[in-house]
């Protein structure tokens, strides 16, 4: 039975309207509601379902970031993960942590923990990179099925349906493999109160990138973060005829 590593990220909650800092160094994160990256919830859910179907022996949830990332790990444990690994990175360093660093950390942990499968979300909704799964696969030399909407388990291989631009695609990957979860993969469960209480007793190991021998020096320098251009206010039209004449004026018809 497989051992599964799931990468999860603590991000600003998807419903929050973000604010750019006045010094243009980034966005305001202090005092803002955070939660687990929605795609990572789907990744955890998939791993836990594997365990429920006796396809997985153990589900390990890993998060890289400041102390507060432990809350995200607890959420994963409450959803059904067995143990957590918190790769502690100070708030300041975490701001400049990139998928290249996370992928090296996940790759090292996958080897140390002897896992057969790594599942991560297809992208984090803060940096919108969509890189970590692909890079982890690259570091390990494992096949990577990105944007998964269906995973079927075979003997030492997985048949995966992927969401691509024109529709869907099916690939077979040999395990060990890396997968990235798309929205359509599953519907993540809510953590129930008893499970939240139980999750408090589950083990969470704390380590540093240094312990893993991974250099987290930023490879990309953020020069500025600014507000996007604001659209000119539009107008509410009284009827369809006015809309048609406006579209004609604009050369759209």
């Amino acid at each position: 039975m497989a051992r599964v590593l799931v990468g999860i990220k603590r991000v600003i909650d998807y419903a929050v309207k973000i604010r750019v800092k006045s010094d243009k160094s980034g966005v305001v994160v202090d005092g803002v509601k955070h939660s687990m990256n929605p795609f990572d919830e789907i990744a955890i859910e998939e791993a836990v379902r594997m365990k429920e179907k006796k396809l997985a022996k153990e589900v390990i949830a890993v998060s890289c970031g400041p102390t507060a990332s432990q809350e995200t790990i607890r959420t994963a444990l409450a959803m059904g993960a067995d143990k957590g690994i918190h790769v502690e990175i100070s708030g300041n360093e975490a701001e400049f942590l990139q998928p290249i660093h996370v992928s090296k950390i996940l790759a090292k942990l996958a080897q140390d923990e002897k896992v057969d499968l790594i599942i991560v979300g297809k992208q984090a909704i803060d940096d919108d990179c969509n890189q970590t799964a692909q890079m982890t696969g690259g570091v390990l030399g494992w096949p990577t099925a990105t944007f998964c909407s269906k995973i079927e388990h075979g003997q030492n291989e997985l048949t995966v349906t992927r969401e691509i631009d024109g529709g869907l695609e099916v690939v077979k990957v040999k395990t060990p493999a890396v997968l990235s979860a798309d929205l359509r993969l599953n519907e993540p469960r809510y953590a129930t109160l008893p499970n939240i209480m139980k999750a408090k007793k589950k083990p969470v190991k704390k380590i540093s990138p240094k312990d893993l021998g991974i250099d987290i020096t930023p490879r990309i320098q953020i020069i500025s973060v600014e507000d996007p251009p604001v659209r000119q206010a539009g107008s509410i039209l009284p009827d369809v005829d006015t809309l048609i004449s406006k579209l004609k004026e604009g050369g759209h018809l």
Partner: protein, 334 residues
Amino acid sequence: MFATYCRTLKTNVNFVSILQRLESTLVIAEHNNEAVSPITQNALTAAKKIGGDITVLVAGTKCGPVSEKISKAKDVARVLVAESDAFKGFTPESLAPLIIATQKQHNFSHIVAGASAFGKALLPRVAASLDISPASDIIGITSADTFVRTIYAGNAIQTLKIKDAIKIISIRGTSFEPAALEGGSAKIEQAPAGDYKSTLIEFVSQELAKSDRPELTSAKAIVSGGRGLKSADNFKLLYDLADKLNAAVGASRAAVDAGYVANDLQIGQTGKIVAPNLYIAVGISGAIQHLAGMKDSKTIVAINKDPDAPIFQVADYGLVQDLFKAVPELTGKL
């Protein structure tokens, strides 16, 4: 005086061309073994902005027509062709080693592809193998190492500098004009040979949605529907309107989740990013995640019966009406 000016100008021109000569970009062509994907043309424009030599890599099971076509693009210096069964399904596991072999031979300063499902799946794997930190979905190029992209679902614009020697970037198609595939005559050469077949992954099949309408990401007009459409059948109202406008049809996540349309029509942060001349949002409230995919459209029209729907904050023209009345009326009058 004039002579001095000319000399200065000449020196500057030389200086610029020396700088540009240092840059050399590899563009990874996206295609389906028959035709070039339009996003490749956008990627060529981005490569021109970087400056310097442009090489295009065409890999697939059949590359003849595509490499011929790309060799006619102006400013492309050469087209490298890798035709093999190994590239069936364009799997990153087979393409990444080819790109790395090509990089080793030619030493490019930049590797560029479109930020489509293909480019997104491929480039980070290449980057990891080369120990490079890539930049995704670039919307602007400030200089050879400085790029602009959006974060937080398009709600912030980040300017970044890549410190690695090789810059690996995927570009947002809608942010760069498509380069014409004419006016040039690039050399067609063989890409470095090797055994690129991967035993780790096997392409099984593809199920592509068939449609006579324009392709979503390059359409000039898009009619898009949300939860307000209430059923898959009601989407016909939008198809009728789209046919009148020669528009593509898109959808919000709510409409896809409810099963009204297939997920390849989803527009938004995690779906497709579009920027047509005309975007008509019908029965779409305008969540942050949807706006991320369409707010760079030139003209936005919203039809929604809820006057407080956030979509009206970005719409140029709003119609606060029941879509089941407004859409047929609009279609009828066009």
